[in-house]
């Protein structure tokens, strides 16, 4: 704690200069200007929210502050003095700690080791000091961590706490959190918000990146909006104080997209559900393991034109369910029936041929092959099939044309179809995968977190497409951690917890009451228990 107090003393006398200043910073990448002449000031005692659509340049800004990249033009200033952050070490020395969007912990090390990672190699780790300081953090920020646990075995939320703890242990002046809430439950996000508040109260500056506008409003003191690399506008503390949440969001959306959002929360979709059962799952079970959740007694039905939502905190078997349905995960017991055909033992390719599609949430890991051009990636699941292959021989012109059509139809932002897909932003990769799944004779489509990490505009477009799919008489399973999304799209919502179905609810548009019931189920409460209680 004492460390944090002295930190405050060290702060520059001139608050106008801010802790960090970005002065006309520009960063080019092949073919794009990622950051274009941006000037920003980060003030101590403020949560500074960065907003912007996919590819707007937020991560690039973070990269420059974290010492991963250097600006091509313009310069950074620390406490008003021009400075270079040429490496992560320089950034850390300047008191900037970054919690990246993707975990930057070593999974095989213990929590303690991750906390002291980066210490000089010749120093003996001083356990007592760390323990003492962790005690202080627990008091001040409710951060409590098992020091000797293996990091990889902890939940994502706990892992994020380690990163935050690490930032605090370093006596930082600035803490950067890049899309830190996308992995968290609503409660987790709230806790993080409270922590950020405490941090700024103790005199630090926080930079917070999110795609969720209400979070920006609730947690932020100052909001900067980036658009295609440029600073589109800023809402300072004084201005924010005068706005209600809705007003603020309207204004932000205006800045981000240059148009009106069309009314805050998404409207609930008109249902198109029929009686025809397309997918019938009975008593499905899969083997669990040390780091995978097993499924128990999963039974569900999807009808033509129906969107079946699956809610649950990340890691409660949703992914396993999607994989078991797609044929990617062996089924221990139970039966899967697709339009009267039992497909329990069919493999991925056979199920796909019968019209079962699966959009993975792991875009880079399994959804695409980063080094391959976009064109190959658009036909990855149809290798050998006409019209792209004839008797096993590739027809490059056909594939290229198909890729160009897909790029155009889904408005993928890319130089051309020969670009390796790994170079696109997450959102644009997602569009290509979406396009790929909708190709041909889909009957039932399983979406796993289809809008995760997308910006508002793309989220809206994607949700629209999912609705269209259902309207076209196909069955949809929509797995999402975002309750708003489920409540906007789904006809029924299944809640999973611990690899089981905890309950199935009709989406009656019940608003807060429904949200609350889902929340209870997500926490593991059984429907019946609640009824008897």
């Amino acid at each position: 704690m004492s460390g944090l107090a002295t930190q405050e003393m060290d702060l520059p006398p001139d608050p106008g200069a801010g802790v960090i200043g970005l002065n006309n910073v520009t960063k080019h990448f092949p073919g794009v200007i990622a950051v274009d002449n941006v000037s920003l000031t980060i003030h101590a005692g403020e949560v500074h929210v960065l907003l912007g659509e996919n590819g707007a340049g937020k991560s690039t800004l973070v990269g420059m502050l974290a010492g991963l990249q250097e600006p091509d033009d313009g310069f950074l200033a620390l406490a008003g003095n021009r400075a270079r952050l040429a490496s992560p070490v320089a950034s850390l020395d300047a008191g900037i700690s970054t919690v990246f969007q993707h975990s930057m912990l070593v999974p095989t090390l213990t929590v303690f080791e991750n906390l002291i990672l980066g210490a000089p190699w010749y120093k003996r780790p001083n356990r007592a000091t760390i323990e003492q300081r962790m005690g202080a953090l627990q008091r001040d920020f409710a951060l409590s961590l098992p020091l000797d646990a293996i990091t990889g075995e902890l939940s994502l939320g706990q892992q994020q706490q380690i990163e935050i703890a690490r930032a605090l242990l370093r006596d930082s002046r600035v803490v950067i959190l890049d899309e830190a809430t996308s992995m968290l439950t609503p409660q987790g996000a709230e806790e993080l918000g409270a922590r950020m508040r405490k941090l700024v109260q103790s005199g630090l500056a926080v930079i917070f990146i999110t795609h969720k506008l209400s979070e920006a409003y609730r947690f932020g003191d100052r909001i900067s909006v980036l658009k295609q690399g440029r600073l589109a506008g800023q809402l300072g503390p004084e201005r924010l104080a005068t706005l209600s949440e809705d007003q603020a969001i309207d204004e932000i959306v205006q800045l981000m997209f240059g148009r009106d959002s069309g009314g805050g929360d998404a409207e609930r979709r008109q249902t198109s559900c029929t009686d025809e059962v397309l997918l019938d799952v009975v008593g499905l079970e899969t083997e669990g393991g040390a780091d995978v959740m097993g499924l128990h007694a999963i039974s569900l039905q999807v009808r033509a034109g129906e969107i079946l939502g699956i809610a649950g905190i990340d890691g409660n078997g949703q992914k396993q369910l999607a994989e078991a349905l797609a044929g990617q995960r062996p089924v221990a017991r139970g039966r899967v029936q697709l339009q009267n055909n039992t497909v329990t033992s069919a493999n991925v390719a056979e199920r796909r041929r019968m019209g079962l599609r699966y959009l993975t949430d792991d875009r880079l890991g399994e959804g695409s092959i980063g080094a391959f051009p976009i064109s190959d990636n658009t036909v990855l699941k149809d290798v050998g099939e006409p019209p792209f292959w004839l008797r096993g021989i590739e027809r490059p012109a056909q594939i290229a044309q198909h890729a160009r059509d897909l790029i155009q139809h889904f408005q993928v932002r890319t130089p051309n179809e020969t670009t390796p897909i790994g170079r696109l932003s997450g959102g644009n990769i997602q569009k290509i995968l979406l396009g790929r799944e909708l190709l041909g004779n889909a009957r039932v489509v399983v979406f796993n977190k289809p809008t995760y990490g997308l910006d508002l505009q793309n989220i809206e477009a994607s949700r629209q497409r999912i609705g269209e799919i259902a309207a076209a008489g196909k069955g949809v399973i929509l797995i999402s951690t975002d309750l708003d999304e489920l409540m906007a799209l789904a006809d029924r919502i299944i809640v999973m917890e611990g690899g089981r179905i905890r309950g199935t609810l009709d989406n009656d548009g019940g608003g807060e009451a429904l949200r609350l019931r889902i929340g209870r189920l997500m926490a593991g409460e059984e429907l019946e228990q609640k009824a008897t209680a």
């Binding site: 999974p107 990672l117 003996r124 780790p125 690490r166 790994g422």
Partner: protein, 311 residues
């Protein structure tokens, strides 16, 4: 075959096992550090060979076997510097560069040997033995294990030192982080390149020492291609040891024993054809791989070069 289990058989088995195990142990320990830090150091065979050559050259020129060991270490590290520059700094493919360096060193040392020693075949004096007091008097075990060249004890000691280093020090932690998640180490302020370069140089030093042992203690002179795959065996030992120096030692001893068994069985008058016996050690490794192979978890970033900010 009745003659198995005689004192002669056991002595020759143990003696041979230790003598054969030491170079592989040194190589395996060296390789282990590289692998921990995420560098698959296939060039280790070349480092050993260079160590053997320079180790012998220096020992011969300065008439000092100890200077020779130093020379071996330097020789191994010279090749390691190339490996570090090409694979760690410049991020070139580790397997291909490793093989390339090994081939290059084979050619270079054969060339140098040809012009320097191939007419005269100078040899070093027989190396001294260090008898460990008391221990060396135990029958069978004593002369086999406790009456060897000091390098043998140094190699055994380094197992303990390394085990301590990996478990208890920041360096050990940094090494593991570099092999498991270099990006995480980098953003935490660690020096990925530095620690990887260090590990590669250490591998060079250990491999060079192993090579120098082969030349100076093992043979008393340098012969082209004399390492004959000991470095590759070191790679296998390191991969099977799951990061533990003790397991490298155990592996090296088992491998040494298998090699030595080929001699011991022959000495015992076994009638199995020699060529078949000689397949034993390799068959043993394959067996181990079949049984335990799936458990040989390797560092996640092994063999992958790290470039800041790239994905």
């Amino acid at each position: 075959m009745e003659a198995l289990l005689t004192e002669a058989f056991l002595s020759s088995l143990l003696t041979g096992a230790i003598v054969a195990a030491i170079p592989m142990l040194l190589a395996g320990l060296g390789e282990q550090m590289s692998e921990k830090a995420g560098v698959l150091n296939i060039g280790i065979e070349g480092m050993m060979l260079m160590g053997a050559y320079l180790g012998f050259f220096v020992a011969f020129q300065f008439d000092s076997i100890w200077l020779g060991f130093l020379g071996g270490i330097v020789g191994g590290m010279l090749v390691a510097v190339l490996m570090a520059v090409l694979c760690v700094r410049l991020g070139l493919n580790q397997i291909v560069i490793g093989i390339g360096l090994t081939l290059g060193v084979e050619g270079l040392t054969a060339l140098l040997h040809h012009f320097q020693f191939s007419r005269t075949y100078p040899r070093l004096p027989a190396p001294v033995r260090a008898d460990l007091p008391l221990l060396s008097d135990i029958p069978v075990i004593g002369p086999s294990i406790f009456s060897r060249h000091p390098i043998v004890y140094i190699a055994l000691l380094s197992v303990v030192v390394l085990a301590y280093l990996y478990r208890r020090t920041n360096l050990g932690m940094t090494l593991r982080a570099a092999g498991e998640s270099p990006a995480a180490l980098d953003v935490a302020g660690g020096n990925v390149e530095g620690v990887r370069v260090f590990s590669v140089l250490f591998t060079g030093a250990m491999a060079g020492l192993g090579g120098a042992y082969l030349a100076n203690v093992g043979a008393g002179l340098f012969i082209p291609f004399m390492t004959g795959g000991a470095g590759f065996i070191g790679i296998v030992l390191a991969m099977l040891a799951r990061g533990r120096p003790l397991w490298v030692l155990i592996g090296a001893l088992i491998f040494g024993a298998a090699l030595s068994l080929t001699t011991a069985l022959q000495v015992a008058g076994s009638n199995i054809p020699t060529d078949v016996i000689q397949m034993l050690p390799f068959a043993a490794v394959m067996l181990v791989l079949m049984v335990f192979g799936r458990k040989a978890r390797l560092p996640a970033a092994l063999g992958i070069s790290y470039e800041r900010g790239a994905r």
